[in-house]
Structure formats: C-alpha cells, structure tokens
Symmetry: C2
Subunit: 203 residues, 2 copies
DNA sequence: ATACAGTTTAACCAAATGGTCAACAAAGAT
DNA sequence: ATCTTTGTTGACCATTTGGTTAAACTGTAT
C-alpha cells in the first residue's frame, strides 16, 4: 500500500490542526486533540512542529491569507464599480461557504492578540481599501452614485457578506432555519446583497 | 471608611470576571487573573462562585441578555417600519459602543458551545424576528418598499450594526484609523446605516 | 546482513490550572 | 466578654497540558 500524497503524516497533522484550531481557537485547542484527530502520537506532533505556537502560526497564517487574498484579488481588478461589488459579494460568500469557520477564527484571534497579529500577519496589506475608495469617489464625481463616504460603503459590503457566518448558530436558533435552508439563504445572498447595495447607492 | 455599594467583594469579582471573560473568552480566562484583577485571593473567588463554570454562566447570561434585550425592545415596539429601523440602528450602535467586547464575546461562545447556549440561554426569544418580518411584509403589501425577503433585510441591518465591532482591530490596521476616528466613524454610522437601508428598500 | 537516516512510540517531566482545606480575622448577636 | 456566623487567606492537592527523551521501528543504500 503506497502512501498517497494527501496521506503523509505532515498533511494529517495540518488537517487535524486546521479542524481543532478552527473550532476551538488557540486558547481552547489541545495538542492531544490534534494528535488524536490526526491519528498519531503527541510526541510525533512535536517532532513535526516544535510547539503549539509554531503550529498555530502555520494554520493562522494560512487562514488569514485565505481570508484576505480573495478580497484583495477582486478589489484590485480593473472592472466597473457595480460589477466589482457583484463579483465581490458573490465570490466572497462562495469562498466563505466553503470555509464557514474562517471569519470567526481569524477575527477572534485578531481581537485577542492584536499586537501579534499586526506584527506577523499584516505585511503588504496596507492599501487594500484605498483602491476601492478611489473607485467609489470616481463614481460619485461622475454622478453615478449618491455621495457616501467610501469607508461606510466598504464596511457595509463586508459586513453583509461576512456577518452571517459569524452569527450562524444564533441565527438558526432565532429564525428556526435548518441546515439546508441556511445554505439556500447564503446562496440567495450572493445576489441579494449586491442588489441591496446597488439599490441604495445608485442615483 | 464605609464600604460603598459598588465596592463589595461580590461586585469587585463580577467586574473583574466581566473584564477577563470578555477579553479572553471562557477557554482563555484564568481564575487567577480574575482574582488578581479583583484584588482578592483565588480561594475567595471560589467562596463566592464555586467554579469557573458557575462564574462564567453569570457573566455570559448577563452579556447575552444585554445583547438581545435591546434588539427585542425596539423591534417589538409599535412604531412605523422606517422609524423602527432608524431607532434600532441608532440605539443598538450606541449600546455596543458602550460595550464593544459584547458581540465577539457572545457570538464566539455561542459558536463554540452551541448546544449549551441553546439549552441555557435561549428561552422565550423564539418570536423575536417574527414580529419584524410581519412589519416588513405589511409595508411590501402597501407598496411602501420593494419586495425583499424579511430575513435578508433583518440580517443586513444587524450585520451593518454589529460587524464593525467584531472587525475593529483589523479595520483599524487596514484603514489606518486612530481610536478617536473610529469612535467618530461609529457615531456616523448611527445615521448612515439606516439611511443606507431605507435608500435601498424605499419604493 | 548491516549500518544509517528519518520516523514513531511509550513513558516521563515540569509548569499551569481549577479547586479544596484548615486556620484566622471581622462583625454582629447574646 | 464570649459565641457564632460570615468573610478572607496561605498552603496544598489532583489533574491537565505543553513539551522532552530514549528506545524502537522502517526503509534504504552499502
């Protein structure tokens, strides 16, 4: 029986670490849980990653990169504002549907260790929002949309895309939605959210 | 020197527990930290609250009640839809500005312990959203607003009010805002968000 | 076969952590 | 003054937890 590429010890560890860290966060995760989840010994875990910190850093860097890369890619593309908004909402909600734990994980750790986050994970991301702001200012000058501070529009857009994933458990309790209804709800939002935004800003 | 009412051991403990739990969450909080913060012995902490669980439950119940009560109060009031939206956004953002840790704390713990949350903290909150949905359907029938599923409108509104508090650290890094600029930003949102919503749905 | 490198394990360790206990102090009640 | 209840403390305990070590196993080149 040949070891497939996905089945190396290294990959089993990363998969297990991802699951445990995403679900429980740095403080709540236990090295023993990760080892169990990977089906290996705890000592072997330390053989591959010397400490919990090191392993966490790998998982967190991977996660925050996933969380921001998509945003950056779409926002820096050269398409008209409305198309950009549609593309952003659609693709970002799609990506988060694939990784529903991502927002809470990244935002929670960024809140709990802001200094560390800034030091290690905030390189070359400075001007992400600047580009979007310029697009908006341009369309305001062209009288295509009503005057509105770019920061608010951007915050509104990201809020409506990301928040449902964070509020999911409470939302499902209060709305009584079932799992598949929630999936459908998210699917709808790919269209509903950009429509909602454009309806609001279009002149 | 008479002990003022706010300075009882009980209150010092609650204040300390609030601070530590809100900042670090259940998993990250240490009983020793809470005792230190309260300026008392760890044994005394256990004298008042037998276990970390018990103490956490008090703080969490208090927090989740704060988080939902305001919503309920406004949404169940008998005012017109647009006024209700304005009132909700303004008052909810104001309340969260006073308690900026609240959203992440409540949503994070609800995510990490969904079953426990449902069991212990979800009593008599079922029909909170139903009321708002009826208001919206009514206005759609009256042709006052464009057709839109109430669930999406509600989710959008809550998202735009709550999300900025969760994203604060990342937002401040990426936008370069300073603390007082952020406070001003939130202040603006009390008007901007309801305006944004009403612009979008008004016929 | 054997030597050798990388991999895996059981057993172990020290620090951290939630929790307890017996003694002691404070404050009323008698 | 003395008794009793309540509040407070330092020392202590058991378990959990991140991390280490030495031995054993595996595959491979000689």
């Amino acid at each position: 029986m040949v070891k497939s590429l996905d089945d190396t010890t290294e990959n089993k560890i990363l998969g297990a670490a991802r699951k445990v860290f995403w679900e429980k966060g740095m403080a709540g995760a236990r090295m023993q849980d990760i080892a169990d989840q990977a089906g290996i010994n705890k000592a072997l875990l330390h053989y591959y990653y010397r400490s919990k910190e090191k392993l966490f850093e790998v998982i967190f860097r991977e996660a925050s990169s996933l969380f921001f890369m998509k945003i950056a890619g779409i926002i820096e593309s050269d398409i008209p504002l409305f198309a950009k908004i549609e593309s952003f909402c659609g693709e970002y909600i799609a990506m988060l549907s694939q990784n529903p734990y991502l927002p809470l994980f990244v935002l929670n750790e960024a809140n709990k260790q802001p200094y560390r986050f800034k030091q290690r994970f905030w390189k070359n991301r400075e001007n992400l929002f600047e580009r979007f702001a310029r697009d908006i200012m341009m369309e305001i000058e062209n009288k295509k949309i009503r005057p509105l501070k770019p920061a608010h529009l951007f915050m509104n857009m990201v809020s409506m895309c990301v928040f449902p994933f964070i509020a999911k458990p409470i939302w499902m309790m209060s709305s009584g939605m079932k799992e598949d209804e929630f999936i459908h709800f998210l699917e709808e939002r790919k269209k509903i959210v950009p429509e909602f935004i454009i309806c609001s800003i279009k002149k």
